[in-house]
Amino acid sequence: MEQARRGNVDSFNLLVSRWERRVFNYLLRLVANREDALDLSQEVFLKAYQNLGKLEDASRFAPWLYRIAHNEAFSLLRRQRPGAEEGVEPPPATPGPRLLPVETALAVQAALARLSADQREAVVLKIYQGFKFEEMAEILGCPVSTVKSRVYTALDSLKETLAPVGSKL
């Protein structure tokens, strides 16, 4: 980390290799497009490289990196859908007796798409990325209470459609 902060490209590439998959998947779940997620990932790591000197506490690298990713993703979402943060409404999932992996994926995708962008991001950071509420507050730039509220509201909504899906896995 210290060498990367001094501008050592090889050291930074090592950091990238550790984080690129997680950052890519975080962005993919927010923007729902692989090419956009890949372009954004590259932008995120370029900005991280150029601003690594601003990071005073190396232990806060993950929230700092995700904060950049969050800003990049929402900047793209605002450009693509100015004034509308909601995802595209997919067809409602109709789970059968036993779900195939692709059906489960579609049901999850549909349930996540029904959430607001803020709630969806909160779920992605909590469930998929495993951040604590305090870290999420740092990434999202809002109070812990707001983060908690977003996660809880999203879980109440997801529970209605995904608990039956989960029982058929």
Binding site: R6, N13, K148, L162
Partner: protein, 193 residues
């Protein structure tokens, strides 16, 4: 603990302190509704996590390029503690160097005792000189103007005198011509008789 105070979401998400976790677990042991609610939350999490992360389509790697590398000044500006230390060092250096670099202040002479009588005499003498000089200049100007006026008047009188003399001369010439004509005529009359 009762059902309303049991934060099952925090329990399911592992966002609960250990002591509260123990209390919640005890409550769950005796409450079927909360157990069912917790089961729904866990199934929801299981459904979400069944969708695995994807592999990144292309690996991201940077090559050493001066265009993208932060410059020395960017690194310096981005480094708050280093910048603060540099500022403090420069300030200390400036404070230490200040006595050696600043020239000694110029000595200001003490004001002499004021002699008001002498000052008044000086002022009066200066005023008198200036007044005399001004009067002399004024008289000179007036004399010059008078001489110019006299000269102009003399010139005008000379011109008038010359004009008069010319007029008299012309009158004499006319008179002479008339007399000669009369003489010629009278001579002609005497010859005819």
């Amino acid at each position: 603990m009762n059902c309303s105070s049991a934060d099952l979401k925090a329990y399911a998400l592992a966002e609960m302190p250990e002591d509260e976790r123990v209390e919640t677990r005890e409550h769950l042991g005796g409450c079927g509704n909360c157990r069912a609610e917790l089961e729904r939350l866990r199934l929801t999490q299981a459904a979400l996590l069944s969708v695995r992360d994807e592999d990144i389509p292309r690996r991201i790697a940077f090559v050493s390029d001066k265009v993208f590398e932060p410059g020395w000044w960017q690194r310096l500006l981005q480094s708050g503690p280093r910048l603060g230390f540099a500022s403090a060092a420069m300030l200390s250096l400036a404070i230490l160097a200040h006595p050696f670099l600043t020239p000694p202040p110029a000595t200001i002479p003490a004001p002499a005792a004021v002699d008001t009588a002498r000052m008044e005499a000086d002022i009066s003498a200066r005023i008198s000189t200036v007044v005399v000089q001004a009067m002399a200049e004024s008289e000179a100007r007036q004399g010059k103007q008078a001489r110019e006026l006299v000269t102009a008047a003399e010139k005008r009188l000379d011109l008038e005198r010359r004009g008069d003399m010319l007029a008299v001369q012309q009158s004499f010439e006319v008179l002479g011509k008339r007399m000669s004509v009369m003489l010629t005529a009278s001579a002609g009359l005497g010859g005819a008789r």
